[in-house]
């Protein structure tokens, strides 16, 4: 190494500091208390590996949840003859599934090998199940939207239109089925891992992600001009569940093992997300400020997804959390 390499420079700085102060206390230098290290575990090194996922995954969780639950609203709307609402909801689902697929592929270390996921069907891998759920959802939503639009615009008449109507019904119900799984499996995905703050809350995560998806879908449809009492009711439902989860999370504490949820920046993201989707959205709806409630819920749902990934990174890097979760 040359003398101007960063580590040589750093060594020079340390020598300088030692000369001037008689002691070196900087990061990376363990002199306090002598040669025996006092950090938890092995020099404070992580015991499990924190997730390598970047911004694509929390946005994928958000859009996937919204898109999946839009299909649920679409099918309920079809049952009760709200065709306009069903069309908008199916558009949201279709745009969502395209964006979700792009985000999921972008996140891969080798995006060109994405197709390798489609040669394996593995019940014990939530990642494998998720890929198949997303694929089946896409296979229902995109043709479902096309036939619904063809039917709504009366492009064909007579028997063909009747067939389209039936096909649209089947495909929309299929979308709703895979949509509910798309919105909730992400909770299983991170709940069934070795990261303490995640697996300790594996019951809460699917409920949170699924309900956040439902509330986001209802809120976005309201913002797009569908001011139906039914959507308002769904908004109340989602905000009430999220408020309950906020209480659950603050009661079901595991000390050091899940401190990433209650401390650090990750803890703040979780708290902000829960307040925006829970109590604040509930109060705003109660005051009749529906668009504000919808915006609060959508922002909260997005922040919370980033929060849970941040929790994984903090918790996975924390050796004491792993030890505490196993004692």
């Amino acid at each position: 190494m040359t003398s101007n390499s960063p580590s040589e420079k750093r060594l020079e700085e340390l020598r300088e500091q030692a000369w001037q102060k008689g002691v070196v206390t900087d990061r990376g230098v363990d002199v306090a208390g002598g040669p025996i290290p006092r950090k938890p575990g092995y020099y404070g090194q992580p015991v499990v590996k924190p997730p390598v996922w970047t911004w694509e995954i929390p946005i994928y969780f958000f859009i996937g949840g919204l898109s999946g639950m839009s299909a649920v609203i679409a099918s309920a709307a079809i049952v009760f003859h709200h065709v306009d609402l069903a069309r908008t909801a199916m558009w949201l689902a279709a745009i969502g599934v395209v964006l979700s697929s792009i985000l999921l592929i972008l996140d891969l270390g080798r995006p060109l090998l994405f197709i390798n996921m489609l040669r394996v069907f593995k019940l014990q891998s939530a990642m494998s199940m998720g890929v198949w759920i997303l694929s089946m959802f896409g296979a229902c939503v995109v043709p479902g939207l096309i036939v619904l639009e063809l039917h709504a615009h009366q492009v064909f008449g007579g028997t063909i239109d009747q067939l389209l109507r039936i096909a649209a019904g089947i495909l929309i119900f299929g979308s709703a089925f895979f949509g509910t799984l798309l919105a909730t499996y992400t909770g299983v995905l991170i709940g069934a891992t070795a990261i303490p703050a995640w697996f300790l809350h594996r019951l809460l995560l699917p409920i949170h992600f699924g309900t956040a998806g439902l509330g986001s879908a209802a809120g976005l449809l309201e913002l797009l001009g569908h001011r139906l009492a039914a959507l308002n009711a769904l908004g109340y439902y989602a905000a009430a569940i999220e408020s309950a989860l906020l209480i659950w999370l603050s009661v079901d504490k595991h000390g050091m093992a899940d401190r990433a949820i209650h401390e650090h920046g990750s803890g703040w993201l979780i708290r902000i997300g829960e307040i925006l989707t829970g109590p604040l959205a509930l109060v705003l709806r109660f005051l009749g400020l529906v668009p504000l409630a919808a915006i609060s819920f959508l922002v909260g749902a997005l922040v919370s997804r980033f929060g849970w990934i941040a929790v994984g990174k903090v918790s996975g890097s924390d050796p004491e959390a792993v030890f505490a979760s196993q004692r």
């Binding site: 992580p46 891969l108 270390g109 080798r110 990642m127 909730t184 299983v188 699917p206 309900t211 039914a230």
Partner: protein, 288 residues
């Protein structure tokens, strides 16, 4: 094994892959001298790229931890504990020394009986070999990163840019290529003190319990075997003799394979799915 010379399983050719014999590593810190020859041999044989020179300030360990480009990692532990029959006392009165021991342990992928990474892999890139080891097929892996959070030991990782083969997940291969040709894994082959022993799993387990017993009789009262067979991991193919608690080595005391959490998480997911559908139907039925 120590004292066997060229008769040691570390030096003999074998046909474990062809005979489908379960093999393992037994790593014994009580004879490790911290030379890091295993790290070097591993990097050389497997063409594992250089991942940077960093001064950690942690004893003589500048490797840090296992990862995508570190498949053997020699740990350096400085502990204020009595070493074996060390005479401990006050140095000022001249009748003993401060309790102190320096432990070196070469860490490696554990090749679990129930492997979290293997179960999690959605492409089938991670497979179980004939000798019971867990192998990542680099040309199949698409770098989804799910194995990284599924390993209870924090071994496997995704290799970052700009290193060669970046984007894929990497870990110890148990030198499967060498084993297929009857050769011993590179780290065990070079280990000058046979701190790393390669051989049949059953033989190694027997050797390990003998070794633990011997050390305990020689004053190392906290010598124990780290081989979690009673947890859901159901035993590991690379097990360790350790002095003191596993936590000090960054080893999880009770590692669990994450698939045990699937049932409860999916139950919660299905319940949420059903509740959402019912909520949507009721909302439209009563409020529209």
């Amino acid at each position: 094994m120590i004292g066997e010379g060229i008769q040691s399983t570390n030096q003999r050719r074998h046909s474990f892959v062809q005979d489908r014999v379960e093999v393992g590593f037994f790593t014994d810190p009580s004879v490790c001298i911290g030379c890091k020859a295993c790290e070097v041999a591993c990097k050389e044989w497997n063409h594992v790229p250089d991942d940077g020179f960093n001064w950690s300030g942690n004893s003589y360990d500048n490797t840090g931890h296992l990862g995508a480009s570190t498949w053997r990692h020699v740990m350096f532990l400085e502990q204020d504990r009595q070493k074996g029959n060390q005479v401990v006392g006050s140095t000022s009165s001249g009748n003993g020394e401060d309790p102190f021991r320096w432990v070196f342990l070469s860490d490696v992928c554990k090749h679990c009986e129930e492997a979290g990474c293997l179960e999690a892999c959605p492409t089938g890139a991670i497979v179980r070999t004939e000798v019971g080891s867990v192998l990542v097929q680099n040309d199949v892996c698409n770098g989804c990163g799910y194995c990284v959070v599924s390993c209870p030991f924090g071994v496997i990782d995704r290799r970052p840019e700009p290193l060669p083969d970046a984007g894929g997940a990497f870990k110890c291969t148990f030198c499967y290529d060498r084993q297929k040709s009857g050769l011993v894994p590179a780290c065990a082959k070079v280990c000058p003190t046979e701190s790393i022993v390669f051989g049949r799993l059953d033989d190694l387990r027997a050797l390990a319990s003998q070794r633990v017993k011997h050390l305990q009789e020689s004053g190392y009262s906290d010598a124990q075997l780290y081989d979690p067979q009673e947890t859901s991991v159901r035993g590991i193919h690379a097990f360790f003799l350790i002095l003191g608690e596993p936590e000090a080595y960054g080893l999880p005391p009770k590692p669990q394979v994450p698939t045990i959490y699937l049932k409860s998480a999916w139950t919660s997911a299905f319940a949420t799915a059903i509740a959402s559908v019912i909520a949507a139907l009721l909302a439209f039925a009563f409020f529209a």
